[in-house]
């Protein structure tokens, strides 16, 4: 049965349904108990599942990440809620040097089925240390998988797939998307990792957008439609594995592409997507340089107008698309 629920509720529902079925799944994180987590995602869960399985931890990101890895290695399926994705800076050794590598280092013995859920992105006025989009870091690490859902529907299905996966998966939630809604089935369902979603079909320009940028790209597309410009919006949904085929096919069709994410442009995953296209057979179909949009080369500022200016907005996307079209 379908009904409209929020992205936040979708995440919670995905966890709760799985926890009802599988005793090995549990959540740990800071303030996820009666407080419900910094954004309220786990609200109500400790009441249903108890303090053992909705485990409030001290402020010890490295320690709890490592505890998650160790418990995964010994038979549990932990979900680690990292309160803000900026704090991955503290937990990274356990995620990158332990979780991602254990299976390989041990020659295929042992597995680390864990999900790290964490909110990222700017727009809440929380400034430089609470607004980053650092997903590019983890995409660079073999052994990890990386998910960035943009809708409630995707969030629920992708989180189910993440929880089912026997590998460490980093699941990026976007703070500004928590309150957005879409139609979501009540029952469990899984969206395979590595399957991009064409959020809008079009013929003139391909826009590859992630997380909140999917919505801004769709807005831009709606605007441009009025001018007779037809935009195809592709949401990779999972960065690792990346559905290269869907992207390459679209670009081969449109011949023009804009890649947009909120993360700082320099060193962002947009570089990977853009250069994957530049390396692919789509190259021969390109009618214009590949455009990339991303965050400004500064920390995220506090002031709301500056903060907005830091990340690509709808007009920026429209402008980039038009520039791409004007290039013959």
């Amino acid at each position: 049965m379908m009904r409209e629920i929020t992205y936040l509720e979708a995440v919670r529902e995905a966890m709760s349904q799985e926890m009802r079925k599988n005793d090995d799944v549990f959540i740990l994180g800071e303030d996820i108990g009666v407080y419900g987590g910094a954004f309220g995602v786990t609200r109500g869960m400790i009441e249903e599942f108890g303090p053992e399985r909705v485990r409030n931890t001290p402020i010890s990101e490295a320690g709890i990440a490592g505890a998650a890895v160790g418990s995964a290695l010994t038979g549990m399926r932990p979900i680690l809620e990292l309160q803000f994705s900026d704090f991955i800076t503290i937990a990274l050794d356990q995620i990158v040097n332990q979780a991602a590598k254990i299976r390989y280092m041990y020659g295929g013995k042992g597995k680390v089925p864990m999900v790290v859920r964490t909110p990222s992105g700017s727009g809440t006025g929380a400034a430089a240390q609470h607004s980053q989009s650092l997903e590019a870091w983890v995409t660079h690490i073999p052994g990890l998988k990386v998910i960035q859902p943009s809708t409630a529907y995707d969030a629920k299905g992708l989180l189910k797939a993440a929880m089912d996966d026997d590998n460490p998966v980093i699941f990026y939630e976007h703070k500004l998307l928590y309150k957005t809604s879409s139609d979501v089935p009540e029952e469990q369902y899984s969206i395979p990792l590595g399957q991009a979603d064409v959020k809008r079909k079009g013929t003139d320009v391909t826009v590859v957008a992630t997380a909140i940028m999917v919505h801004r790209a769709l807005e831009a597309a709606a605007e441009l439609e009025k001018e007779g410009i037809s935009i195809e919006v592709i949401d990779p949904r999972t960065l690792v594995p990346l559905d290269e085929e869907t992207i390459v096919k679209s670009v081969s069709k449109t011949g023009r592409v804009v890649v947009v994410h909120e993360a700082v442009k320099r060193g962002g995953y947009g570089g990977e997507i853009a250069s994957m296209i530049a390396e692919s057979e789509a190259f021969d179909y390109l009618d214009a340089p590949i455009k990339r949009l991303g965050g400004a080369p500064s920390p995220v500022p506090y002031h709301p107008e500056l903060e907005k200016a830091h990340a690509p907005q709808v007009p920026d996307i429209i402008k980039a698309i038009k520039e791409t079209l004007n290039k013959a």
Binding site: E30, D31, G33, V34, Y35, A38, N56, T57, P58, I59, S60, E61, A62, G63, D86, F87, I90, T124, G125, A126, A127, A128, Q129, H130, A296, P297, S298, P299, P301, Y302, H303, P304, E305, L306, A309, H310
Partner: protein, 326 residues
């Protein structure tokens, strides 16, 4: 008349100043609370209402050259270390006259000139910074002391451990002040730490650990005096635990389900400002009338700060890319 038992360097005038300072801190945060409730300020904030005695008591012992590192709950430390409310409020309003020109906001106010090396949005993030500041003092043979504020929750971060260890092996001139307000964001210290007093953790580093009543500014001054002197003499760091309580929620939206209303009431009864006033009145340094005058002056100062902030200019988009590199 009961003479107050305070460190020698604390003059009677200073005591009266401190009384005003505590009200400034209280009113600053009350005002911020009001603005957030009304949605007039962007972002988030963490208020230290109820914790004024530790900020003021500790900083009372510091000179301008001395330094502090602060936390997300840092408005009080900031005022106590000499910042002015107008530039702080302007920062919260995101104005160019703010301490950070509107780029930092509540969690990043710094006042480097007055020795405030900054608030910090990363729990325990400032502790290693304080150790680095103390290292500079030692290496440059400068006499300043660095005070490092942090919460009870921060003591569970690895950074706390690594930094205190460094300070202990190098005998650095730093004073670690843990403001134990009983909770992290929601995590009760009694569930997150397996010892009664956080000061006990000093034993792991072979340094003194002192428990103090964080709601008693006089006690805070005395324990700080000793720790600062020790640091200045090159004898190394001290860990002070100030037992206190935050009256408000953790940040702007907090249903406070993790604690009871009774507990809150008990702690409100231990109001550090009220207590200090009694001490001042008992010792003859203040009359009730004078105290009231001071309170109102503090209130006015905060209102002026708001006006200053409101009338200050906004940054322009050109400001986005400045100040990234020196």
């Amino acid at each position: 008349m009961k003479k107050m038992n305070v460190p020698i360097k604390i003059t009677d005038d200073k005591l009266v100043d401190l009384y005003k300072e505590m009200w400034l801190i209280r009113y600053f945060d009350e005002k911020v609370d009001e603005f957030f409730a009304k949605g007039m300020i962007h972002g988030t904030t963490h208020l230290a209402v109820g914790q004024e005695a530790s900020a003021s008591g500790v900083c009372a012992l510091l000179d301008v050259e001395d330094k502090i590192t602060s936390t997300h709950r840092g408005h009080g430390h900031c005022i106590a270390k000499g910042a002015t409310a107008d530039k702080m409020m302007a920062e919260l309003f995101g104005r160019t006259t703010g301490y950070c020109k509107g780029k930092g906001g509540s969690m990043h106010i710094a006042d480097v000139d007055m020795g405030n090396l900054g608030a910090n949005g990363i729990v325990a993030g400032g502790i290693p910074l304080a150790v680095g500041s103390a290292l500079t003092a030692q290496m440059k043979k400068q006499k300043y002391v660095t005070v490092c504020f942090f919460g009870d929750g921060a003591t569970n971060e690895g950074s706390f451990h690594e930094a205190v260890n460094l300070a202990s092996i190098w005998d650095l001139p730093v004073v670690f002040v843990c403001e134990n307000n009983q909770y992290g964001m929601s995590g009760p210290v009694k569930d997150m730490v397996n010892v009664e007093d956080i000061a006990t953790r000093a034993q792991a580093y072979g340094i003194p650990g002192v428990v103090a009543d964080g709601n008693d500014i006089v006690e805070m001054m005395n324990v700080t005096d000793e720790a600062v002197e020790r640091a200045r003499k090159g004898e190394g760091p001290t860990l002070i635990e100030a037992k206190t309580y935050r009256w408000k929620g953790h940040s702007k939206s907090d249903a406070k389900k993790y604690r009871t209303r009774e507990e809150e009431k008990e702690w409100r009864a231990k109001d550090p400002i009220k207590r200090f006033k009694s001490q001042l009145v008992e010792s003859g340094l203040l009359t009730e009338e004078k105290a009231e005058e001071i309170r109102l002056a503090a209130k006015k100062e905060i209102e002026d700060a708001v006006k200053f902030a409101e009338e200050s200019p906004m940054p322009t988009l050109d400001d986005l890319l400045t100040d990234v590199y020196a």
